[in-house]
């Protein structure tokens, strides 16, 4: 009658989406020196994924292994991150977080409603019973990030 596992499924799928976003995104090389060995995925705020993150650190992006970083609030550490997931718990701090990432080649993702319109790059959006996303491509370009056109085609909306 009740299905708590539904939520787990959604979190697992979201984590898999994150990897795909990274795979189809190109960062400016100057911010990503060749001697860098890892790709940092940061989660700002309460971690909604938990066990869904299991196995992520076994995966690679552009030959670099993924390292997870947790942060309560944005800090100087974030400058080194390539991908930042903003948890729903940070709804009220959204402006501060986005002004911090503004202009930096950091790909921001969130499931907070209106995230892309507010200046985030990927926003998860549920369509019927499936997960999809909105891309703020003009923001991505301003930050020097290039998003592959196949990803843009799949988005339900490109800003």
């Amino acid at each position: 009658m009740v299905r708590a596992a539904d939520e787990d499924l959604e979190q697992k799928v979201k984590v898999a989406f994150l990897l795909n976003f990274a795979k189809f995104t190109a960062w400016p090389e100057v911010f990503w020196p060749a001697d860098r060995s890892d790709f940092i995925l940061a989660i700002i705020g309460d971690d909604p994924f938990g066990l869904a993150l299991k196995g992520v650190d076994q995966k690679q992006i552009y030959g670099k292994s993924i390292r997870l970083q947790y942060a309560g609030t944005p800090s100087a550490d974030l400058e080194n991150c390539q991908l930042v997931f903003v948890s729903k718990s940070e709804k009220d701090n959204l402006r501060g977080i986005l002004s911090f990432t503004e202009g930096k080649p950091i790909v921001t993702v969130s499931d907070i409603e209106g995230f892309a319109a507010a200046g985030g790059i990927f926003e998860f959006k549920r369509k019927d019973d499936h997960l999809s996303f909105i891309i703020n491509n003009s923001k991505a370009r301003q930050s020097g990030i290039h998003i592959n056109s196949s990803l843009l085609k799949l988005a339900i909306e490109v800003l």
Binding site: M1, V2, R3, A4, A5, D6, E7, L9, E10, K12, V13, V15, A16, F17, L19, N20, F24, G45, D46, D47, P48, G50, L51, A52, L53, K54, G55, V56, Q58, K59, Y70, G72, S87, K88, S89, R126, D129, H130, L131, S132, L151, L154
Partner: protein
């Protein structure tokens, strides 16, 4: 440890050692997120929510529901299913001895507590002999449990008779969620040996399977009266498998089965015999074994309707000094759900169950052999009165059983969601508990005394006119997701009981009989609260509180020595618990569980002649454990149970188990995933 225990340990050794060699391969853990390798179009095709009634989310259930997740079980350090149930509000869980529990919902506690339906993956496991559950026979691998849904209040409309005060749904993981291997090995003073193993693999492109084996040795506690060994140690061994397949979209099947064998010591005191000195103490061994096979098939007919078939066979045998029983159950169940127009969701089903019970008679207990047929059908309609805001669910189950004939169990439920974060619900339902074999046709010896003619006996005697117990339940609740990391759940209930069972003393040619009669009625009311707060990403809390007030009175014809007046005080009025989990450094975690249980009155039926009610003091149980994860695939747990006091006295069995105090337990456990 017993001889048989040792043999099993020896047999396991090669398996355990074999795993050691594999440990060097630092492969991804079997539990890792299985969606990581999918590409984006595949991900976009995954359904993350379902319209189906059966897959409703917790916030949308118009009932008092609490879910115990696998993570809750892992962090709690519990070693048995009934111990895990103590996490849910509204339930009364007390340990009587190492292998015996009193588990009830909203009152009516007891070893023979009988108003709760317990299902494992849809298979009913309460015993038709007395309508209660032999908890020592339910030992699936704890690591395989996906979740335990605890529904307080009547569930008769969907689940049928015996779901009077609650339903416990124990749901194991699908096979695709348990790929890879797991081995668990542990030892402690109260848990001398704990072993669990599982291996899961892919059977074909669309099917997964797993097999498991578990063996646990549980140590003995002490007698309250003498502080000596209570003779309650027991060993449980169980193995099984589960296969799940999804041949294509919309088709799903499951085949699973278990085999188990448990051996335990138990003490009967007093144990009544037909010769002088009549009243004795018996140190006995109880053996139970059984097996089951369950198949399920579900097919979506179109995007709006689905049909599901479930079939199972269950065998269980129990053998001790006073009774020998064997049950063979066959159950078949067909369900259909469909959308009807824009606003209605219909669910209907029909089922047939045959239960064949064989009993060996003894001087102490006698039950007749029986074969019972149960036919059932149900219909439920969920109507969306206001789009995405207000739902009304109406339904009823109809059952025909061999004892009372036809039984109707209707319910009406209303759910209001004024906003995404708020759910308000209310319901009214009728539920029945149909008679068990002992209440209709049983005989249980409760006393023997010498007379001029030979011996006289006091017995509990079945009554062919015993009817169903009836409940009218009125419930309401509110769930509030205040923030993403903070939620509240409150449920209130008012229960109106009729025809509740008690025993009426009547002179008989050989002494006197306590005859089962439907002669207690009254009300139960209470409130249950659960608060879930993930304070930070490292620290989380779950708080629960339950208040229960029973006001039951027996008919004027029932004399006081029947003891039914004690029903009001045999379940704790206040219960509270706090569980907290703190992640220290990257791979250390501390879990604390405090549980307060109010004082109760107990009555040892066996001592009925001599002893009156016994007061059991309020107690606080402290469980504390430390989990260390030195590597991704390895987990070490050091757990302390029942730490507050060296011993706790939780319940006095109305059956003949002498009063037993549960000892402090400490164990260390290693879990390896590969």
């Amino acid at each position: 440890m017993s001889q048989s225990g040792l043999r099993i340990v020896m047999a396991m050794m090669p398996v355990v050692l074999g795993l050691g060699c594999l440990g060097n391969i630092y492969a991804a853990s079997g539990e890792s997120n299985e969606y990581l390798d999918l590409d984006i179009t595949q991900l976009m095709n995954i359904k993350v929510t379902s319209v189906a009634k059966k897959e409703q989310s917790l916030a949308d259930a118009a009932a008092a529901v609490f879910v115990i997740t696998q993570e809750d079980i892992r962090r709690s350090g519990v070693t048995t299913i009934p111990d895990a149930l103590a996490m849910a509000p509204g339930l009364q869980v007390a340990k009587i001895s190492a292998s015996k529990w009193s588990v009830s919902s909203r009152g009516f506690a007891g070893y023979t507590s009988n108003k709760l339906l317990v299902l494992i993956d849809g298979r009913s496991v309460y015993s038709p002999a007395y309508s209660g559950t032999f908890w020592d026979a339910q030992n699936t691998l704890l690591e395989d449990i996906d979740r335990i849904e605890v529904i307080r209040g009547p569930g008769g409309t969907l689940w049928g008779a015996n779901a009077v005060n609650g339903v416990i749904n124990i749901i194991t993981k699908k096979a695709d969620q348990t790929q890879g291997g797991l081995a668990r090995l542990g030892a402690g003073n109260q848990e001398p040996f704990m072993f669990g193993s599982r291996y899961g693999g892919k059977i074909s492109d669309t099917a997964y399977g797993r097999a498991y084996l578990t063996y646990n040795d549980h140590g003995e506690n002490v007698l309250k009266s003498s502080d000596t060994d209570a003779g309650d140690q027991w060993q449980s061994a169980q193995g099984g498998f589960r296969m799940d397949g999804k041949p294509n979209d919309g088709k799903e099947w499951t085949l699973q089965g278990d085999l188990y064998k448990n051996t335990g010591d138990q003490t009967f005191s007093p144990f009544w015999i037909s010769q002088p000195p009549f009243m004795t103490t018996l140190y006995d061994e109880v053996n139970n074994k059984g097996g089951n096979l369950l198949g399920r098939y579900r097919q979506e007919i179109d995007s709006e309707s689905a049909v599901a078939l479930k079939v199972y066979y269950d065998n269980n045998e129990r053998d001790d000094a006073v009774f020998k029983l064997a049950f063979n159950t066959f159950d078949i169940d067909l369900q259909y759900e469909t959308k009807w127009g824009q606003r209605q969701n219909l669910m209907m089903g029909t089922g047939y169950r045959v239960v064949q019970g064989d009993f060996d008679q003894s001087f102490q207990v006698s039950l007749p052999d029986r074969t019972d047929h149960l036919y059932s059908a149900f219909l439920q309609d969920e109507i969306n009165l206001l789009a995405n805001t207000l739902w009304l669910t109406l339904g009823s189950k109809y059952e025909h059983n061999g004892y009372t004939g036809s039984e109707w169990q209707p319910s009406a439920r209303l759910l209001l969601k004024p906003a995404e974060q708020h759910s308000l619900w209310t319901s009214v339902a009728r539920a029945v508990r149909t008679p068990s074999i002992v209440e209709r046709y049983g005989r249980v010896t409760m006393g023997v005394f010498p007379t001029a003619m030979g011996i006289g006996t006091v017995t509990f005697t079945g009554n062919p006119d015993f009817e169903s117990e009836i409940l009218y339940a009125y419930e309401a609740g509110y769930r509030w997701q205040a923030r993403d990391n903070l939620s509240f759940d409150v449920a209130v209930f008012y229960n109106d009981y009729e025809e509740i069972y008690t025993a009426m003393p009547q002179p008989s040619p050989t002494g006197y009989d306590y005859v089962f009669v439907n002669a207690v009625s009254g009300t139960g009311q209470g409130i249950e609260v659960a608060v879930d707060w993930k304070a930070t990403s490292r620290l989380s809390f779950v708080l629960t509180y339950s208040y229960l007030e029973l006001d039951l009175t027996e008919d004027a014809s029932i004399p006081r020595e029947a003891g039914s007046y004690l029903l009001n005080d045999s379940s704790p009025r206040h219960q509270g618990s706090m569980r907290s989990s703190l992640s220290l450094a990257e791979n250390w975690q501390v879990n604390l569980w405090l549980r307060y249980v109010d004082s109760i009155q107990g009555l040892n039926r066996a001592d009925q002649a001599s002893a009156g009610p016994a007061e059991i003091d309020a107690y606080l149980i402290t469980d504390l454990n430390l989990i260390w994860t030195p590597r991704k695939d390895l987990e070490v747990m050091l757990a302390g149970q029942n730490l507050t006091k060296g011993q706790s006295f939780q319940y006095i069995s109305e059956y003949s188990t002498p009063a037993t105090e549960i000892e402090r337990g400490v164990y260390c456990k290693l879990t390896w995933r590969f």
